[in-house]
Amino acid sequence: MNGRLYRFYTDTWSSAGGPVAALAPVTRLATGAAVFAACLTSDPRTLFGSGLLLFTVGAWLTLCRVPQRVLWPVLVFGVIVLAPFFALSAWIAQDEASALSLQTLAVPWGIFSKGVAVMLVTTSTFASMSLAEFASGLACLPLPRFIVLLLAQMAHQAGMLLGESSRIRAALTVRGAGLRALTSMPRVWLVRVMTRAERISQAMQLRGYDEGVTNSGERIMRHRDWISLATAAGWLALVVLVRVKVLP
């Protein structure tokens, strides 16, 4: 499982081949964030709201052109994690007869559809850039320096940790731990992560990786970047307007 997770992690970055990938990294992040916000703002409890959400996600996936080998696992994961929310309808219902009515199912459907949508949008955005572009795009955003460094390291070290986890699991399996591998994993993993974190901290101190790190983001904006940003911002504004003025 962990080996697959690691392969998924390394396969996802830069896997998308759509027009979004041709934009500047900072534009990709900013437009992705706008689409993410549009998904969260939309109200899928009505047919019109669901249609708007579906169109937003569909358009972004089409523009990113993410390969199916990346999209499917995210979709399946989203369904597994969020489908149990439909069980809430039994508590929401006034009586037994209305438990499966559209009105009662609207609440879990809202959570489910928005959750799956933001998972797909986030994955597609990351799939449209390399890890280095992610860091350089972050550096161009008006964020506090330590937040930028923290997010960049989190993304980078997540990959390193997944690699380490897959090696631990392989070692436990080869040594015949079998099912016990599952129970031993957290203990072994935690110790490794702690010692590794200490070594990385030492490397950071030694190499001078702190808030004084110079900004490595290159903000070269072309016409298409400005057009994309304007379109994404306009779409977000429209979704907000629809949410506030049109939908009940």
Binding site: S130, R199, A203, Q205, R207
Partner: protein, 229 residues
């Protein structure tokens, strides 16, 4: 004023809660452009010596690097003089992009980014890793990560190189290339290794640690070999 690049004077390190010191009363010097092997069995204190040099762990005694005595105020200056290769090279790769990581040693010291990237590219080429320049560190093998980490340590033209098991995980051509490179680099080097053959080829003399104490030093590596058999 000493001409030694690195001097240890009666240096001891004790980890909190440990029964015995990790290193005790260690004294030695390394001259300019001298290559010295730091030998010892597992747990002898080799990595502790390295960490003490750059102030990663508190130590007693006196440590001098390039004529500067190690203390809290001189730590940054000393670290800038040293190229450090960690035992697990993956730990010191702080950027996802190979070129960015190697160039970081220069950009962090104010070298303009285009110049830093060019020098990083040249260093990778010198290590026979030119093709790695555009790659993600996540897709590299152990040997490739080691080369990238080494390039990052060398790119700032350090006065002193601290290499912790640099040959582990390298294939024979990689080891030969590293030997050649270490002979060419105009810097002093302290090389921690178990590989006596590699030590003999790269270093003019050795320091032998045993349970945290400097047990022996000299140029006749066969004495160590005999002791280990």
């Amino acid at each position: 004023m000493s001409a030694d690049v690195l001097a240890f004077r009666d240096v001891s390190v004790r980890y909190p809660g440990a029964e015995r010191p990790a290193i005790a009363g260690v004294s030695f010097e390394i001259g300019s452009c001298e290559r010295v092997a730091l030998l010892g069995l597992n747990g002898a204190g080799k990595t502790t010596v390295f960490q003490a040099v750059v102030g990663l762990i508190p130590s007693q005694g006196m440590i001098t690097v390039g004529g500067v005595t190690l203390d809290r105020s001189s730590m940054r200056a000393i670290r800038d003089k040293v190229g450090f290769l960690f035992n697990v090279p993956e730990d010191q790769l702080l950027f996802p992009d190979v070129l960015e990581d190697v160039a970081f040693g220069l950009t962090s010291r104010g070298v303009p980014r285009p110049e830093a990237r060019e020098r990083a590219r040249q260093m990778l080429a010198r290590l026979g890793a030119r093709e790695l320049a555009g790659q993600s560190v996540h897709k590299l093998s152990h040997g490739q990560k080691l080369r990238v980490a080494l390039a990052g340590a060398l790119v700032g033209d350090p006065e002193l190189l601290l290499l912790d098991e640099p040959a582990s995980g390298l294939d024979p051509p990689g080891k030969r290339g590293l030997c050649k490179l270490l002979q060419e680099i105009p810097a002093a080097a302290l090389v921690a290794t178990h590989d006596l053959e590699f030590a003999r080829k790269t270093c003019g003399r050795y320091l032998l640690l045993n349970e945290g104490r400097l047990e022996d030093q000299g140029q006749d590596f066969s004495r160590v070999e005999a002791g280990w058999q």
